[in-house]
Every structure is written in C-alpha cells, then in structure tokens.
C-alpha cells in the first residue's frame, strides 16, 4: 500500500470522525432526531418567510382578531405548552426508570395533542363554513386563507404524527418494552411541534 495513503488512513481513524466515537456525545437515534428537527425547521421557516412576503406585497391584510376566535387560539396555545411541559416530565420519569409514571405522563401528553387537534378541526370547519378556501375567502386577498390552511395544516399534520408516535411509545412503555432513549426522542419531536406553534401563534395570529 502507498505509505502516504496509509498515514492518511491512520490520521482519519485516530480523529473523532474515524468511527467508534461519538463526536456529538449523543446516541445515534437522538442525533438523527436532531438532524430531522433541523431540516423540518427549515421547511417551516420557508413557509413563514413566504407568508411574510405575500403579506407584505398585499394591498391589505385582514385583521386576525375579526376573523379568528382568539379565545380558542389562546386555549390551543395553552394546551400545547402544557402538553410540552408534561412531556418533559414523562422523559424525566422514563430516565428515573419509572415506566408507570412515564406512561401516565405520556397519556396526558397524548390527551393534550388530541384536544389541540379537536380545537383545530373545529376552527377549520368553522372557517370553511364561512367560505374560506385555498383560492378565495370572504375577508380579503386569497393569500390570507391560502397561507392559513397550508401553515396550520402542515403544523396540524405534525401534531397528528406526534400523537401517533407518542401512542406507540406509550404502548411500549405499558408493555414494558420501554427505553428512556425512545421516550426522549419522541419528546424532542413533541417539543419541536410546540416550538413551531409558538412561531405560528406570534407571526400568523398576533402580528
């Protein structure tokens, strides 16, 4: 073998990236979850920037307080933040090797997610009844309802996926096939869904 190549190979193997080491100090599954969250955050960033762009070039944007039921939106925000806090406690219980408590907290988190989805279904059906569509709406520029349905729809689908993942993790915790890493990764995803809602709440409903 070429000696310089062998030296190079030795150098790579000895480095942090040579294998057998964990440069980020996490399990592979947790690191993959972070990579997924980072890429998903970019999708939502693109949505929100596109929304800001379209709002800026519109002659007028409807007043959100006159279109949306802000009490319902505030309740939805409260539910999601609370479920995120309960999820953090589920991870703590899982780390403390207390599957029963973790299962209880996970069920509460799932309940929060289902309540959020229920509120969103109520909000959507109400707006659709009033005549809001992707192509037109009774309050102003078509982009108003289009961005609303795309952004909250995409977020709502994330909540639905989160509830599904949490249900699987909760079932596995109940069956005793439980690992704290699994609960933590599901938790990371759930907190991310909460973070996205914080952005949507501030920039779509309040600004």
């Amino acid at each position: 073998m070429d000696s310089s190549l062998a030296v190079e190979q030795q150098r790579i193997l000895a480095s942090n990236w040579g294998g057998g080491k964990s440069p980020f100090g996490t399990s592979w599954s947790k690191f993959m979850m972070w990579i997924f969250i980072i890429s998903d955050a970019l999708t939502f960033a693109a949505f929100l920037i596109a929304y800001g762009f379209m709002r800026r070039i519109s002659p007028a944007w409807p007043r959100q307080t006159e279109v949306f039921n802000m009490t319902l939106i505030t309740l939805m925000t409260f539910i999601l933040i609370s479920s995120s806090a309960v999820m953090a406690m589920a991870v703590a219980a899982a780390r403390a090797a207390n599957p029963k408590l973790a299962f209880k907290f996970l069920c509460l988190t799932i309940l929060g997610g289902l309540m959020f989805l229920g509120c969103q279904a109520f909000e959507w059906s109400h707006l659709i009844e009033e005549g809001a569509r992707l192509t037109h709406n009774p309050w102003g520029v078509p982009q108003f309802a289009a961005t609303f349905f795309v952004i909250t729809g995409f977020h709502g689908f994330h909540v639905f996926s989160g509830v599904t993942i949490l249900a699987i993790v909760a079932l596995r915790a109940a069956m005793g096939k439980y690992s704290a890493d699994q609960v933590e990764n599901a938790g990371l995803y759930w907190h991310f869904v909460d973070v996205v809602w914080v952005f949507v709440f501030a920039f779509y409903y309040l600004l």
Binding site: A45, I57, P59, A85, A202, F203, L206
Partner: protein, 105 residues
C-alpha cells in the same frame, strides 16, 4: 444514593413546572402585544423577542440542550441563520415600486 436520585428527579419536575409557568407568562405577554396598537415594525420586533425567548427556554430546558455538547447546540442554530439569509434576500423585493402585486378578488 437512591434518595439522592429521587431528590434529583423531583427537582427536575419542579423545574419543568416553573418553566411551564414562565412560558405561560411569555405567551400572555405576546398576546398582550398582539392587542396593542404599536407601529408594525416595533410590534414585529417585540414579538420576535418574546418568541425567541420562548424557543430558547423550550430548547434549553425541555429539550435538554443545555446539557448537550457545544457542537450540537451550534448545529441547532443552522435553521435560524439560513432563515435570516432567506429573509434578507426576499424582504427587499417587497420594498420599493413592486408592491401591491396581489389583487383582491
């Protein structure tokens, strides 16, 4: 040892409860900002501040980012940096003469 561990975990439950209360306070602040009649630029700036405060709290405490290595923490700033780049490339297009492209039907 077991007692000490138990104590540790009850501390983290208390911390998550406190964090929850703080997040509700920040949400109430954002909601209050939404109802005040400030200039749009200032309102946007203040809302960005409360939102960033909220996501920092969620990421640091709920997502345990404060216990992670610095390289993972830096990695999570990538979307923020790329979003700022995308925003600064698209926002100038909305200024100047090319406004009001969208018509009300």
């Amino acid at each position: 040892m077991a007692d000490h561990e138990h104590e540790q975990h009850s501390i983290s439950y208390g911390l998550y409860f406190k964090t929850w209360v703080w997040l509700l306070v920040l949400t109430a602040t954002a909601l209050g900002l939404g109802y005040t009649h400030l200039p749009e630029g200032l309102k946007a700036f203040l809302l960005i501040c409360t939102t960033l405060a909220k996501i920092l709290v969620i990421a640091a405490i709920f997502m345990h980012l404060r216990y992670e290595r610095v390289n993972l923490i830096l990695l999570t700033f990538v979307p923020l940096v790329l979003a700022i780049i995308m925003f600064s490339f698209t926002f100038p297009e909305t200024l100047g003469t090319v406004t009001h492209l969208i018509q009300v039907r």
